[in-house]
C-alpha cells in the first residue's frame, strides 16, 4: 500500500518533470501546418522531419555559439584548476598567520550578491579593455569559489602528509611536491570541479549577456535569446532551438551522471 503510494507520487513527479520537454520535442518535429492543426501534446507525423533544426542552424548562429562557449570553458577551466589546486596546496599544507583570514574571505563571498555587484564589475572589465572579448568571461570564471576550495581542502586532508615528507627528504622542492604529488593526487576532486564548472559556465546567462554583447561572441544562452527575439513567434523553430541548446548538456549528463551526482553531493556536504 505504502509502496504503491510512493510509486504514484514518483510517477506524478516524473510526469511534471518530463511533460514540458516532451511538448518541446514533439513541436520541434512538426511542420508549421501540422503544428497549427494538431494538439500540442500530439505526436508529430514523423520523427525524421529535421526541417526545423536545419532552419534554426541556418538562421541562428548556434554552431558558432558552441565554438565560443567551448573555447571559454576550456580556457577558464584550465586556469581555474591550476589556481584552485595552488590555493588548496598553500592552505591545506602550510600553517601561517593569514590562513584563517583567507578562508574567511572565501566564505564571506557567499553573502555578496554577485549579480547586483555587476554594476561595479562592469567598470573593471571595461577598464581592463576586456569588454566584448571572450576573455571577460574567462577572467570572471577563473577565480575559485568557496565550494571549490572546500572540496579541495577536504580532499587534500586525506592525502597522507608522509608523502610530502619522504619526497622532501629525497630532495624534492616544495614546488616539485605540488607538481608531482599533490596535483596528480587531487585528480578525483578536480574531476568533480570540472564537471560542476562546465555545467555552470555553459548555462551562464548573465556574464555573456552583459560583457559580450557583440553578435559574433554569442554563446548558447545569448544566442538562444537573440534567436527567439527574431523567430520566437514560430514555435516549431523555437522548440528546435531550445533542443539544440540543451542537447550538449543532456549528453554530458547521460554520460557522466554518476560523477555529477557525487560532485553535487561533495560540493554541498562540506
Amino acid at each position: 500500500m505504502i509502496r504503491t503510494l510512493k510509486y504514484i507520487s514518483l510517477l506524478i513527479a516524473a510526469i511534471c518533470i518530463l511533460f514540458p520537454p516532451y511538448i518541446v520535442i514533439v513541436a520541434a518535429f512538426k511542420t508549421p501546418t501540422e503544428f497549427a492543426l494538431s494538439a500540442g501534446y500530439a505526436l508529430p507525423g514523423s520523427f525524421f522531419n529535421f526541417d526545423n533544426f536545419a532552419n534554426v542552424l541556418q538562421k541562428g548562429k548556434f554552431l558558432r555559439s558552441y565554438f565560443n562557449i567551448s573555447y571559454i570553458i576550456i580556457l577558464s577551466l584550465a586556469g581555474n584548476i591550476l589556481l584552485g589546486t595552488m590555493v588548496a596546496y598553500a592552505l591545506g599544507r602550510f600553517q601561517f598567520k593569514l590562513k584563517s583570514l583567507i578562508l574567511g574571505a572565501y566564505a564571506g563571498a557567499l553573502v555578496i550578491p554577485g549579480i547586483t555587484t555587476q554594476v561595479a564589475t562592469f567598470g573593471i572589465i571595461k577598464n581592463l579593455g576586456l569588454f566584448n572579448t571572450h576573455y571577460s568571461m574567462v577572467l570572471l570564471s577563473l577565480g575559485a569559489d568557496v565550494v571549490q576550495i572546500y572540496i579541495y581542502l577536504q580532499f587534500i586532508k586525506n592525502i597522507p602528509y608522509e608523502l610530502d615528507e619522504s619526497a622532501y627528504l629525497e630532495g624534492a622542492s616544495l614546488f616539485r611536491i605540488y607538481r608531482s604529488i599533490i596535483f596528480p593526487l587531487l585528480t578525483p576532486a578536480t574531476a568533480t570541479i570540472l564537471i560542476l564548472r562546465t555545467i555552470s559556465i555553459y548555462n551562464d546567462l548573465y556574464s555573456p549577456y552583459l560583457y559580450m554583447p557583440s553578435q559574433s561572441l554569442g554563446v548558447v544562452t545569448t544566442e538562444l535569446m537573440r534567436f527567439s527575439n527574431s523567430y520566437g513567434s514560430s514555435w516549431t523553430m523555437q522548440s528546435a532551438a531550445i533542443i539544440l541548446v540543451a542537447i550538449p548538456m543532456v549528453i554530458f549528463y547521460l554520460v557522466l551522471q554518476k560523477y555529477i551526482f557525487s560532485g553535487v553531493v561533495n560540493g554541498a556536504v562540506k
Binding site: 518533470i17 501534446y41 574571505a105 572565501y106 563571498a109 550578491p113 547586483t116 577565480g143 543532456v250 553531493v265
Partner: protein, 296 residues
C-alpha cells in the same frame, strides 16, 4: 629550488601560489562590493567621470517609493514557494533513499532539469503556458480541470507563483540529490537499533533522520533564502526589458534595469547594498530561528 631552505621555499610558495587567486577574489568580489557602497552615495550615471555625492538620497528614494515594497513582495513569493520545494526534495530524497525498484531512473529524471540552462527552460515554459498554443491549458481542459487553466504568465496575480514554481521545477532534484547524499552518510545500525527498541517508521524519521539532516537542511534554507532574494533568471529571460506594469519584477531584475537601462547607477547601487544587508540579516535570523536556539 631544493637548495633553498624550507622556510624560504615556504614563503615563496605561499606568495606565488596565493597572490593571483587572492587578487582575483579581491578584484571581482570584494572591490565591486565596496565600490557598490561608494557609488550608492552618488548620482553616477555609469559613464561620466563625475560622481556627485548625494548623501543618503538614493536610500531615501528606495524607502519612500512604495514600488519597492511591491517588488519585494514578489521575492517573498519565491521564498514561500521555496519551502514547498524543500518539502518535496526531502520527501523524494527519503523515498528514493529506500530500497525501491527503479530508484536510479527516478533520481536521474528528477535531477535532470538542473543541467538545462535557464534560458531554454524559460522559453520552454513560455511555450507550454502560452494562452493560445500552450499545451498545459489544453490538457487541463481535456481531463476536466478547465477551472484550473489560467493566464499563467500574463495575470499579475499568478505570474510570480508560476515563475517561482519554474525554479522549483529546475532545482527540486538538485536539492533532493544533496539530501540523499546526507542520508547515505547516516549509519544504518542506528535505524536497526531504533527498530529493535520498537520505534516505528515515523519516529525513526523524526528522531534519527531529521536531526542528522540538520546541517544539510540548514544549507537548503540558506540556498532558498539566497535564491529568493536574488531571483532573476526567469523573469529576466521572459521580460528582458522589464515586465508589463512591473508585475514580475524582482529586486535584482529591477536593479539591473535601473542601472543598465536607466543609467541610474547610484540608485541601483543603493539597492544592491540593501540587498546585501537584507541577505546577511535574514541569513542570520533564519539560522537562529531554525537552528540556533538548541545549539547554545
Amino acid at each position: 629550488m631544493a637548495v633553498l631552505s624550507l622556510r624560504m621555499q615556504k614563503i615563496i610558495i605561499l606568495w606565488s601560489f596565493l597572490i593571483i587567486p587572492l587578487l582575483l577574489l579581491g578584484i571581482f568580489t570584494y572591490y565591486p562590493a565596496f565600490s557598490l557602497i561608494t557609488i550608492s552615495f552618488t548620482n553616477w550615471n555609469g559613464i561620466s567621470s563625475i560622481k556627485t555625492g548625494v548623501g543618503l538620497d538614493n536610500y531615501i528614494r528606495v524607502f519612500s517609493d512604495p514600488k519597492y515594497f511591491e517588488i519585494f513582495s514578489h521575492n517573498l513569493i519565491y521564498f514561500f514557494v521555496g519551502f514547498v520545494q524543500i518539502g518535496l526534495s526531502l520527501y523524494f530524497a527519503v523515498i528514493l533513499n529506500s530500497k525501491l525498484r527503479g530508484r536510479n531512473i527516478f533520481r536521474a529524471i528528477l535531477f535532470s532539469p538542473y543541467i538545462i540552462n535557464s534560458v531554454a527552460i524559460a522559453f520552454m515554459f513560455t511555450f507550454l503556458l502560452n494562452n493560445e498554443v500552450g499545451a498545459l491549458n489544453v490538457v487541463l481542459k481535456e481531463i476536466g480541470l478547465e477551472s484550473l487553466s489560467m493566464n499563467w504568465l500574463s495575470d499579475p496575480k499568478i505570474i510570480n507563483y508560476t515563475l517561482a514554481f519554474m525554479s522549483t521545477w529546475k532545482y527540486m532534484g538538485f536539492m533532493m540529490v544533496i539530501i540523499i547524499g546526507a542520508l547515505q552518510s547516516i549509519p544504518n545500525d542506528i535505524y536497526e537499533a531504533a527498530s529493535i527498541d520498537g520505534a516505528n517508521g515515523f519516529q525513526a524519521f523524526r528522531f534519527i533522520t531529521l536531526p542528522s539532516l540538520r546541517r544539510i537542511l540548514e544549507l537548503c534554507f540558506f540556498l532558498n533564502l539566497n535564491g529568493a532574494l536574488s531571483a532573476f533568471e526567469f523573469p529576466f529571460v521572459i521580460f528582458p526589458s522589464g515586465s508589463p506594469l512591473g508585475m514580475s519584477d524582482t529586486f535584482v531584475t529591477n536593479t539591473l534595469l535601473t542601472s543598465f537601462r536607466y543609467s541610474d547607477f547610484g540608485l541601483a547601487s543603493a539597492m544592491g547594498v540593501l540587498l546585501m544587508i537584507i541577505t546577511i540579516i535574514l541569513v542570520l535570523a533564519q539560522r537562529w530561528l531554525f537552528f540556533g536556539r538548541d545549539e547554545k
